[in-house]
Amino acid sequence: MFKANKLGIIGVVILLLFLFFALFGPIYVEMMGNSYSPMGGMDTSLGINPETNSYAWPPSLKHPMGTDSKGSDIFSQFLNGSYLAFLIGISIALGAAILGVIMGLISGYWGGRWIDSLIMRSADALVSIPFLPLLIVIAAVVGSLHLFTFIMIMMVFSWVGVCRVIRAQTLSLRTRPYIDSARVAGASSSRIIFKHIAPNVIPLGFYELTMIVGAAIITESGISFLGFGDPTQMSWGMMINFCTAQGHTFKAPWWLLPPGFGITLLSMAFYLIGRAFDEIVNPRLRKME
């Protein structure tokens, strides 16, 4: 089923690979010493690279992915970026999904009543706000966006999509005879929502979650690349930002490519897993027997 889906397996493999990277980061720094620390660690021992006019060196035995203009080990930054991508992606997705599922369940179950209107109109209002410009404005006003703030804001904007989908699903489920049967048996609304409807809706929520992770990673990278990200965190987006800011875009491809691939591959991995999951979710819904 899930295992038979080749794309899903590719997604899982990539995911596990990057998970390994994320967890390996601190160990690597432990192994190699402080000069390899992703934020602030520098290795000037190699001297200035005449081709880049900085401490940026292409990959070597000492530095598997090379160094950046300050002499920081890029591999270490890459590992750290992986960790941050997971952190950002999953925390945003989890928060948005949980919020979205709960809101969707409530909204869908009481569809047509005031609570549904309240939630849906709030959702509409949020959606009508142009998200990226808002982020940039906040970043400009506050200085730069602390990671936590960024995560919170993204959560607030991402729950809407999940909520809509879950609400639609809930609306269709609540007219099913087994829900009536539960009600006739005396089940309270909360029992119906959490025991009868929620389990049928969670798989869909999970699917939405995987989609959000990819979006969150890409958004963060974009924000950081534009210079509005959290400067205290060396995320992949930050790496690209530094590289271009230092003028090394074409001079040091080994600096640009790892974060680029990281962003692309990891988001794609989540997307593939979500896609494979979708195939489980849908036939389950369609199959009646």
Binding site: G112, R176, M288
Partner: protein, 338 residues
């Protein structure tokens, strides 16, 4: 025999254009507020003044074609929706307005079996979980007792070997077996009354008879009454003690089943009986031709609502709704011809 259950003057109107799917969820609270602006004619009069009584240990049939309001009555009785007007009495107590606690108690007393065995059990619950749920909801007995109760009721509904069904899922069972599970789930709290809404219409013919027989057996054992809703009048004949024939939201004839089948008095009942095909090729059935199709419940004809299709319609039928005439003991019908 005591009157267990009574319905008086029950009415259920929906504003035209209501999405009937959402009705039972009180969604049309909003639309009800529009009532002030809605004209009398723009209501779907699904149930238009229905009264009947069900005795203790009786199987009472509600028979009619789709759209006659019988399913709506079932849903009103189990309080999946509220009536527009009218009273419902269970054991002498009016159940239309109940407090939260009274409602929970009520749910133990009236159960329902649904038409679709393929969708009336939660596909993610095991049989054990589905049948045990009413006990959990009403906190009956201790954990261990509950499982024992489930096993015992599965035996009663003929699911053998009981223990093997506990961990299975609905999709592993056949339609007939699922319906038995639904019945078990309803009976496990020992209700006084069960509404059966077309319980056999989605089952194979050979399974129907078994299911009907089982329901009658359980009715005796558990001492309950059944309101049996069906469009199949031959099914009603074989399983009900008394019945009511419905047309467009009203009862046109009611009484003891045998009396009605032998001596149908309302032209609609006569027509309904005459169109049932017979497996015996030598039986010639007297066909009664009805003109036209069933009108919509939002546009109920003036006078006797059956008059446009009635082959015997007279002038008075187009003007005045007929009263209920007593045809014989316990047998009434509403028709100007009587």
């Amino acid at each position: 025999m005591a009157n267990l259950f009574e319905v008086r003057g029950l009415k259920k109107y929906f504003p035209v254009g209501t999405n009937l799917q959402f009705v039972n969820l009180k969604m049309f609270h909003f639309q009800m507020k529009q009532r002030v602006f809605t004209k009398e004619e723009e209501w779907v009069r699904a149930v238009d003044g229905v009264s009947f009584k069900v005795d203790d240990r009786e199987v009472f049939g509600l028979v009619g074609e789709s759209g006659c309001g019988k399913t709506t009555i079932g849903r009103l009785i189990v309080k999946l929706m509220e009536p527009t007007e009218g009273d419902i009495y269970l054991d002498g107590k009016n159940i239309v307005k109940l407090s939260k606690n009274e409602l929970k108690d009520f749910r133990k007393n009236v159960g329902m079996i649904f038409q679709d065995p393929y969708d009336s059990l939660n596909p993610r619950f095991t049989i054990l979980e589905s049948v045990k749920e009413p006990l959990d909801i009403h906190r009956i007995g201790e954990r261990e007792d509950r499982i024992k109760k489930v096993v015992s009721i599965l035996k009663e509904v003929g699911l053998n070997p009981e223990k093997s069904f506990l961990k299975r899922y609905p999709h592993e069972l056949s339609g007939g077996q699922r319906q038995r599970v639904a019945i078990a789930r309803t009976l496990i709290v020992n209700p006084k009354m069960v509404i059966a809404d077309e319980p056999c219409s989605m089952l194979d013919v050979s399974i129907r008879a078994e299911t009907m027989k089982m329901m009658i057996k359980l009715k005796e054992e558990f001492g309950l009454s059944i309101l049996y809703i069906t469009h199949d009048i031959s099914e009603a004949r074989n399983v009900t003690d008394s019945m009511a024939v419905m047309y467009l939201g009203k009862i046109v004839e009611s009484g003891r089943t045998d009396d009605i089948i032998e001596n149908p008095s309302h032209p609609y009942s006569k027509a309904l009986i005459s169109v049932v095909p017979d497996i015996d090729p030598d039986i010639k059935r007297g066909k009664i031709e009805l003109l036209g199709g069933v009108p919509s419940s939002s546009n109920i004809p003036k006078g006797c609502r059956f008059n446009p299709r009635c082959p015997y319609a007279m002038d008075i039928c187009r003007e005045k709704e007929p009263d209920y005439i007593r045809v014989e003991k316990d047998h009434i019908a509403s028709c100007h011809l009587l």
